[in-house]
């Protein structure tokens, strides 16, 4: 029983890494993707095949996985992030679907739709925990850095960002790179944890779930993404009866719509949880009452 819950916790940590990647892309930079499960797939299969076929250590498999996802991500991001309009979203749809279809149709290499077995084990709870902590630390640093602030500026207003000297397309590409590398990492860890992969694990529904977790946690809050991951990712494991999975997705969809309409900053808002933040919150309330709202 303990082992089961440890497994759930490990899985939560693994998916959380992908959600954190999406948080940088969607939450902090304001870009939307419907194909990031594809980058998880690229990472998962890269590491699985390299370690299984060539016997290289898992750690190098995982690093190659991140590199592969990063490179593909930058390749599709580079031409489309320069454009105005929904081209980038479309590209993520294309890459997400294409990845899955290619995996399904190369049974000789990937095991096809029936899946890939015999992947070297790894991703113990402790390993995943350490990686999660390191990833959170690095992202926190990133968001407090000039580069992170520029990403947020792009989310807030591209034109205003450009007018203070932010190279909008470059920072979008940076966010894309970070999110893809993290999804690649998450996928690779998943491969070694499950020791089995199939293309259905990386469907468009999975991509949508990543986005929705970020939205529900709060665009622009790392803490929000972490909390949302901790609640939402284990949920399917807890709820295992009848049509409950479908109801779960109905609920997610509804909640996302309600959040966007009534509280676009998400459950946590764009605040990180901290004592200083709590103080700021009350300070803000006080000022708001004193000066009234604009317009």
């Amino acid at each position: 029983m303990l082992e089961y819950w440890l497994g759930v916790a490990t899985l939560t940590g693994i998916y959380m890494i992908a959600v954190l990647g999406m948080s940088v892309l969607t939450g902090f930079t304001g870009l939307f993707s419907v194909g990031h499960a594809g980058f998880m797939a690229i990472g998962a299969y890269t590491s699985a095949l390299l370690t299984k076929t060539y016997g290289i250590p898992n750690i190098f498999g995982v690093i190659s996985a991140m590199a592969a996802a990063l490179i593909v991500g930058l390749l599709i991001g580079y031409p489309t992030l320069k454009l105005k309009g929904d081209y980038f979203v479309i590209a993520t749809l294309g890459i997400g679907q294409a990845t899955k279809l290619i995996i399904e149709n190369l049974p000789g290499i990937t095991g096809g739709a029936r899946g890939l077995t015999g992947i070297p084990p790894g991703s113990s709870f402790l390993t995943v925990l350490i990686i999660v902590v390191v990833v959170i630390w690095i992202l926190r640093n990133f968001l407090r850095s000039k580069q992170g602030r520029n990403c947020v500026a792009v989310r807030e207003d591209e034109l205003a960002a450009a007018s203070i000297g932010t190279k909008v397309a470059s920072y979008k590409l940076l966010a894309m790179g970070i999110s893809c590398a993290l999804c690649g990492l998450s996928g690779a860890l998943l491969a070694h944890f499950m020791q089995y992969l199939s293309p259905s694990m990386f469907s468009i529904v999975k991509s949508d779930e990543l986005v929705m977790t970020v939205i529900l946690g709060g665009t622009g809050s790392l803490t929000g993404s972490i909390v949302a991951s901790l609640i939402l990712i284990p949920l399917p494991e807890v709820l295992r009866f009848g049509a409950v999975q479908e109801w779960r997705m109905v609920f997610y969809g509804l909640l996302v719509v309600l959040v966007i309409i009534f509280r676009p900053s998400g459950l946590m808002g764009n605040r990180e949880f901290s004592i200083a933040g709590l103080r700021r919150f009350f300070e803000n309330m006080r000022l708001r009452m004193k000066h009234g709202r604009a317009k």
């Binding site: 294309g94 290619i102 986005v211 997705m249 909640l255």
Partner: protein
Amino acid sequence: MFFQQVINGLSVGGIYALMAVGYSLIYSLLNFTNFAHSITVTIGAFATFYFLTELFENIYAGILFAIVVAGILAILIQILGYSVLLKKNAQRIYLLITGLGISTMCDNLVIISFTSRFRVYPVNFSTKAINVFGATFGTIDLIILAVSAVALILVQLFIKKSRAGLAIRGASFSLETASIMGINTQKLIMIVFLIAGALAGLAGALLGAKYTAYPALGTNMANKAFISSVVGGLGSITGAVIGALILGIGEVLISGYLSSAMRDIFSYTLLVIILFVKPSGLMGVDIGDRA
């Protein structure tokens, strides 16, 4: 054989076009991709199926029913989902996410209500064949081809000739300017959603006849329509139709001469290539930001 494939491809392309025009209309007016479009397609197929099984076994009446139901659904989606965001001029990403939320919710409600089974229309025409110039065509393909052509021509006439169509074309340059000039933009938005929904419902009804009705039908097919609208150029209605026909014929030829597994790979690869080579598509124009 080849001729037959081309007709088949045109009929597939025709259905894609019905859905792609909806994407383009909404994109041209409001500058965002309606991710909830697919659900109106699914509902169109199920509406037809239940009309035929429960009410009245006439395919044309069933199609009409699907058009009405899907049109109403599209309007509801606009009113309940998008209108608040559009009114407060929300960032486009919020519209995309809302669309995703609506489609996730509705897709799963469809599974819960109708189960994941494949439903075959009780009208038996898919086996009938017609002989023309020595080639055989499925009746269903010819019906689809004719119905989509008529629908597309009607929409084209509406956009080109009617006053509302003129207003839509004008407003697609700048909704803000149109509203300053005293055009009722709310009404235009409603009309556009109604047309998009009605066409999607028609597409769903036809798709159900060709492939059976099932919950993921809308998503699978609307994605193809989405690709079509990109190939043709986002926001261009003519482009959407051309893109859809190219994609339809391409897919049918690929599955005919290679394998049906290669068909989807072809579509999504085409999408990625277009984005690399000419992202604005065959007929698209890039619209700049206004300071």
